[in-house]
Structures are given as C-alpha cells and as structure tokens.
C-alpha cells in the first residue's frame, strides 16, 4: 500500500504522494478543456460521455480527465483515449454513445472522428503518428493537454515540484542562477533578454524585501500561449516562480493576468490555493525554511501594462504608464524594491531546467537561442492552435508540415509574427529559421510568438493600418513620439487605404517610423512602427498600387473595392441574397440578382458564397483555388 501524506511537509512526502497518485489504475479518457474547446462545446460532450459510461456500468472503471489545451484548437472538441492513444476531433454530444459502445467497450476505432492528413485525407488514429504532434518538442507544454490543471496531484505525478525539492535540498541560489545561465534561457515575452542576468542583478541588489513578478498580461493579438499554459499547467508557473524567488532572495510574488482571461485567473487561483494547502507555498516550504507566497493581480484592459515598468505601476494601483529606465526593476522595481519580472512561458521552462540541467535544455535550439518556443498559429492555416518547436525551426516547417498548409488551397502571402511590435515575413523568406537574430534581420521580431498566416486575401497596407490603429489606441499618451507619431502614421495609412494617398507618403511613413522607433519612451512606442516599416520593405508594390492605381488587389480596403454581379454569369440561385447580412441583394429565383451599392457593407459574403463566380470584386471574378498545397483540409466545426 502506497503512502498518501495529508500535506507535503518534506521531500519524502512529495515523493510518496507522487507514487501514490501513479498507482491509480483507472482507464482514462482525456478531454481538452482549454478555452477554445470549451467554446466549441467540450463540456456538453463530457456530460454525454459520463451518461453513456454510467449506462454501461463503466463509471467506476473509466474516468474522464479534463486537460488543458492539447494544441489544435480548430479541431475542438477533442478527446484522447488513454488506453490506446487514439485521438478524436470535432466530437459532438451525439457521438458519445458510439464512442463508449464501440471504442471503450469493443476497442474499435471510429474512423469518422479520427485525424485526417494529406489531400487523400488519410485517417491517422494514433496521436503520436500525427504530423502536427510528431514534429513538436514539448518542454513548456509538457503537461498541457496531458494532466488535469485543477489537480495538484496530477502535476505531482508528472514530477511536479521535484525541481523545487531538488533545489531546496541540494542547490544554492548561485547554483540555480548558474544552471539558468548554462541553459541559455532568454525571456519569452518578446525582448529575449537572458533570464540569468536579470536574476543575478536582482540577487545582487541590496535589500531585504524583493519581488518576483510574472507577466501574464498577454496583450499581443494573436498570441495565446501564456493563456494556455496558465489554463493547462498553472503549477509549472508557480514552481518556476518559487525557484526564481529562491534565486533572488524573495518571499513574495505577483502574477499579473489580463482581465480578458477569466478561465486562466480561475485556474491559477485554484492552483495557488491548492499549493498553499499542501504547504508548497507559504512558510517553511518542504521543511527548508524557505518562505514564498503568491498573489494574483488582474489587469483592466490596457495593452501597455505588458511593459514592465507600466505593469508595476498598475500593481501599485496607479495608471499603467511606463517610466524611463534606469533604474531597472532589478534595482528599483515594485514599490521601489528589487524585482524580477519574467513572462509565463519563461517561468514554465525553469522547473525543466532545474530537474534536467541547463546543458540538456541548451541542447535544443540554435547557437544563440536555446530551448524551445511556443508559437500560436492562426489565420489562414488548416490547423490553428499552439505548437512548440526548438528555437530556429524554419517557418515553412511550421506552416506546411505542422499546421497542414493554407486553407482552401490558397497561396501563402505573408506571416505576421510578433504582434503589434513585429513584422510581416513574405513568401520569399519562408525558410527563415525562427530565432531572435534571423527574425530581427528581416524587420520582424520573435515577440511573444503569435504567428498569423495570411493568404492572398490579406491586404498588407490594411494590416499595417490595423496595427498602427491598435498601438495608437493603446498608447498611454505619456511620451510625444508614440502619442502623436502613431496618430500621424494612422492618418497617412488611412488616407492611402481610402485612395487618397500620394507617393510622398511612403517617404513620410519611413521617416516618421524610424523617428518614433528611436525616440519613444518604452517598448510599445519603440516597436510601434515595425509593422509599417516591414510591410514597406517587403510589400512596397502593394502600397504603390493603392497610391497610384487606387486599387486594393486583396479587396480589403472598402473605399477601393466594389462588388457587383455579372448578369451573364448569374443563374439566380439566390445564395448571395440569402447570405447577405444586410439584405441588400435583390432578385427572384432563377432571375439575375443585383447589389444595392448604397446599402452594401462590403463584407464579401456574396463573393465567397457564389458558386458560379458571378459576384465580382473590383470587376474581377473569383480566381480558381489552387490545389498545390499538400495539407489537411479541415472541416469547419459546427457553430456553438
């Protein structure tokens, strides 16, 4: 009989608990309960499965484990059958009887629900055979999609808190920092600053009170890895912060989470309470005398609070405005005390580094960028979701081998990486290795790892305008270059998108952009011009066609686009009129249809739904779809 200690007061207790949990023999069905899958209806599937298991009298032998994000969000709801690792996607409530009767009872594979790969849609039932999973290396996401984030025992069963135990029994703070130095870990929030340097500086700063902060204000649109780590494996972040606290000599930490992530806040809060109840947070942790505790602070919808000095101002209860550095947070941070601030993903790497050693971690990645990086793939790819790969993996591997190529056989136009601080990478650089240096050389940045793939329907001028509008709205207004400069840039870009641009605008944007970059106070302003400068660099022809020809080839800039119906091609199928959200298309069945231009909101729905290529954009019919991409044509999930 394994021992199950009530609280974890010593290292022996921790190991006993791990062994006790691992002795569990129930058959498991893992169900993704990440934010995406919940939105896709995962909880209804769970209820239906539980009812079916009960019917078959299996409710005592088979359990359903709600896990964090498994990765391919667009395939949700997702199930992973514990016994044989068979992976099912787009599972609906109605599938529950068949799953229990055929898979659980009869051990049969239900082909209809398995993963399909390639143009021939080959069924790949076992998760480890699927390209999307096979080509990833999971360090940060090691537990995400594998364990129940609401169970501390589940984390402990996967060697959770063993790094803490190892540290408290055999390492000094200096050895911890040395291990992090050897690992080559760099900040995963965007800037890529070496983590060990921050820690060493905070350790050396004099003072009794020091703070550890975790930046979970994941504001970059298109990035959702921090959310998934907090929702899927919150204890790994807590453990990472415990280690950081020990290294710098701190006993209090704060996690600053954005308000848009209520589920992450809920799960992290529960995880903190559980760790506290077990004795893994609080005083005299594992009998070592080390004391550390954590608190959550919620953001209130200000993007600039992702900047470190602004974040600290916000925790202090003030407007989230950044301040000049030096003094750096390691000298004078939160409440003027030495402070270390790292991103969620950075902290989640730390337990792995302490358990396996810095050298093992450094075996992954490139010469200057070690370890792995999570990318949030979204946009026009077949499989959108989270992927973790060694730093330096080429972009094309992510887009084609892992994410299954572009939707509807469309052609790759650009990948936007790094959010509003980043840039766009055009098709000719598809082979670029995704590491800090190579991306900087192209005018993009690694950033937090949001990666939006765009096809020919994306207008790059409109994308640049979108980002400038974003930073302009989110600019805190403290420094002039950012507050006024981004506004002027937005005016110029809006003018170009409206067909009123002039050639001199290109020069103006370049000068203004470089000036904002050079003179802004904080990272937000210093990188605000990147989306514009990088599109000017790689897509100058598109700017020129907006300015000279007054045309938006992608059909996104509404002043430069018109939709009409070719009376010759229209067969009167009524599809456009039925789908038009503003009912501005008139016509009788089998008669020619017409668009009322005054009421049209230029959404392009009619253009997309017309099967006869009768709806024209800028006078041109829809081009035939390319079939060149090998990919995994994904069926669309049903509307929740």
């Amino acid at each position: 009989m394994k021992r199950n200690p009530k609280v974890i007061a010593t290292v022996a207790d921790l190991t006993a608990r791990r062994d006790f949990v691992n002795a569990e023999t129930k058959e498991k069905i893992f169900m993704c309960a990440g934010g995406g899958c919940i939105a896709s209806g995962a909880m209804k599937v769970k209820m239906a499965l539980l009812a079916e298991l009960k019917k078959h009298n299996l409710d005592n032998t088979v359990m359903i484990v709600e896990t964090g994000c498994m990765g391919p969000c667009s395939g949700g709801p997702i199930l992973l059958m514990g016994r044989d690792n068979v992976y099912y996607q787009h599972v609906a409530e109605a599938d529950a009887p068949e799953i229990v009767a055929r898979h659980v009872v009869q051990h049969e594979i239900i082909e209809r629900l398995t993963w399909k790969e390639g143009l021939e849609k080959k069924s790949i039932p076992v998760q480890t055979d699927i390209s999307f999973f096979k080509k990833q290396t999971k360090i940060v996401l090691r537990n995400c999609g594998v364990i129940d984030p609401n169970s501390i025992d589940a984390y402990i069963s996967r060697d959770g808190y063993q790094a803490l135990a190892k540290m408290l029994t055999s390492l000094t703070p200096d050895r911890v920092i040395e291990e992090v130095r050897k690992s080559g870990l760099r900040g995963r929030g965007g800037a890529g600053f070496p983590t060990h340097l921050k820690w060493a500086a905070a350790r050396q700063s004099p003072g009794d009170v020091k703070y550890v902060l975790c930046n979970a204000d994941e504001g970059d649109p298109g990035a959702f890895m921090d959310r998934s780590v907090l929702e899927g494996d919150p204890h790994s972040v807590i453990e990472g912060m415990l280690i950081g606290g020990f290294a710098i000599g701190s006993s209090q930490g704060y996690v600053y989470v954005r308000a848009e992530y209520p589920l992450a806040v809920e799960r992290l809060q529960r995880a903190i309470e559980m760790a506290r109840n077990e004795g893994l947070l609080g005083r005299n942790i594992l009998g070592s005398g080390y004391a550390f505790d954590l608190e959550i602070r919620m953001g209130s919808g200000a993007f600039v609070c992702g900047e470190e000095t602004a974040l600290m101002a916000s925790i202090e209860g003030r407007r989230g405005e950044p301040r000049p550095r030096p003094p750096f947070p390691a000298q004078k941070g939160l409440w003027k005390k030495p402070t270390v601030l790292n991103n969620v993903e950075t902290f989640a790497n730390v337990p792995y580094i302490i358990i396996h050693g810095g050298d093992t971690f450094a075996a992954q990645g490139t010469e200057k960028s070690k370890g792995t990086k999570i990318f949030a793939m979204a946009g026009s790819v077949n499989i959108s979701g989270l992927v973790e790969v060694p730093v330096g993996t080429p972009l094309n591997e992510l887009v084609y081998d892992i994410a299954g190529g572009l939707k509807d056989g469309k052609q790759f136009k650009a990948a936007q990486i790094g959010g509003p601080s980043g840039g766009c990478i055009p098709a000719e650089y598809l082979k670029v290795p995704l590491d800090y240096e190579s991306l900087n050389a192209l005018g993009a940045i690694m950033g937090s790892g949001g990666l939006i793939v765009m096809d020919e329907d994306a207008c790059m001028v409109d994308v640049a305008r979108f980002f400038v509008e974003f930073v302009q709205e989110e600019s805190c207004g403290k420094c002039v270059p950012c507050r006024e400069g981004t506004r002027r840039m937005l005016e110029i870009l809006t003018r170009i998108c409206n067909g009123q641009g002039e050639l001199a605008d290109i020069e103006r944007l370049t000068t203004l952009g470089n000036e904002i970059k050079r003179t802004s106070l904080c990272g937000l302003g210093q990188t605000a011009a990147n989306p514009v400068l990088s599109t000017l660099r790689h897509f100058i022809d598109e700017y020129k066609s907006h300015i000279i020809d007054k045309k938006c080839v992608a059909g996104k800039c509404s002043k430069l686009v018109t939709y009409d119906i070719d009376p010759e091609a229209c067969v009167g199928c009524t599809a456009c009129a039925r789908h038009c959200p503003v009912a501005c298309i008139s016509g009788v069945p089998k008669g020619t249809h017409a668009i009322n231009q005054k009421a049209c909101i230029l959404c392009g729905t009619c253009y997309d739904v017309c099967k006869f290529k009768a709806v024209r954009r800028n006078g041109k019919a829809k081009p035939p779809a390319l079939k060149a991409n090998a990919g995994h044509p994904q069926k669309q999930a049903p509307q929740s």
Partner: protein, 168 residues
C-alpha cells in the same frame, strides 16, 4: 480573486443598491491599508454595480484615502472601467489580428446594422452594449466574439441575427 466570485451567474434578481453599497463597504474594509488596493477595489465595485457611478468613486476615494483625481485618473486610463451604465449583455467583437484577417470587421458592421448602434453604445432597451475586443486568445476559432462570458466562434455576418436571438 474576489471579483470573479462576485459575479452572479444564475440570472437571479440583482441585489439592491443598498446591498451593493454594504458589500462595497465590506470590501473596502478588507483592502484598507493594503498597498495597491485601488484597482482591485474598483474591479469589485464595477462587478457589483455594473459600472462606476460618481458616488461610488467618491466613497472609494474617501475610504481608501486616495485623492479623487487619482481615482478618476485610474478609471479613465483602463478600458475595462465604465462610468456609464451598460447593457445586460456586453458584446465584444474580437478585432485581434487573426479575427481581423478572417473577417472580424464584417461581423462588427453586421452587428452595428442589426443593433443600430455603434461601438461603445448601448441599445435603448439596455439589452446590448457593443464593444470591440483585442484578442481573447481564441485565435484558432477566428473570427470570434464574446457575449458576456460566452465565446462564439467562426462567426459569419449572416449568423448575427440568430446569435442575438438567443439573448433577446
């Protein structure tokens, strides 16, 4: 987090103004003297009242011993704080990058047409408030929108009527 607990999820009769003020007084007492209390207190107050009316701000300012100007400065800085009453349902259309390139703007136009309000406004019957969001981290489900805490995924402009009908 206290402010996630405060939210009433069952749709029962909302507490009276006096109840809210009593609860606020209790919250302020818990936070008094703690550094950095202002923002958490404002967050809880907003969940209690639905928005931040002037008398609530004044109470907070006096009780936490923060100048009213500072309280006002904080409230106007963060976009989650609202000084005007909002609708029963807050619709937030995601205009993050992924949603934007997959048609979030068209979803927003369709909503504006259907509700006859623009971003930031509330319908006359106080049912819906329309707002935009900057990424909910549901990029794999783009375009997405949130109505209160429900995420709607792969939204198409022509589905707007049906989606709104579920809340009317």
């Amino acid at each position: 987090m206290a402010n996630t607990e405060e939210r009433c999820k069952c749709g029962c009769t909302p507490p009276s103004d006096d109840d809210c003020h009593a609860r606020l007084a209790q919250v302020i007492k818990e936070y008094q003297g703690k550094p950095g209390a202002l923002i958490p207190v404002l967050q809880i107050a907003q969940t209690l009242f639905g928005y931040l009316p002037p008398d609530v701000l004044r109470t907070i300012s006096e009780q936490l011993n923060e100048p009213y100007s500072r309280v006002y400065g904080v409230v106007t800085f963060y976009s989650f704080f609202s000084q005007v009453p909002r609708g029963k349902y807050l619709i937030r259309v995601c205009l993050g990058t992924a949603c934007y390139v997959r048609g979030g703007k068209a979803v927003l136009s369709a909503l504006e047409q259907e509700l006859e309000i623009t971003v930031g406004q509330t319908t006359e019957d106080r049912t819906f408030t329309l707002d935009v969001g900057r990424c909910f981290g549901a990029c794999g489900l783009a375009p997405a929108m949130m109505i209160n805490d429900d995420v709607h995924q792969f939204v198409k402009p022509e589905q707007i009527k049906d989606i709104l009908a579920q809340y009317r």
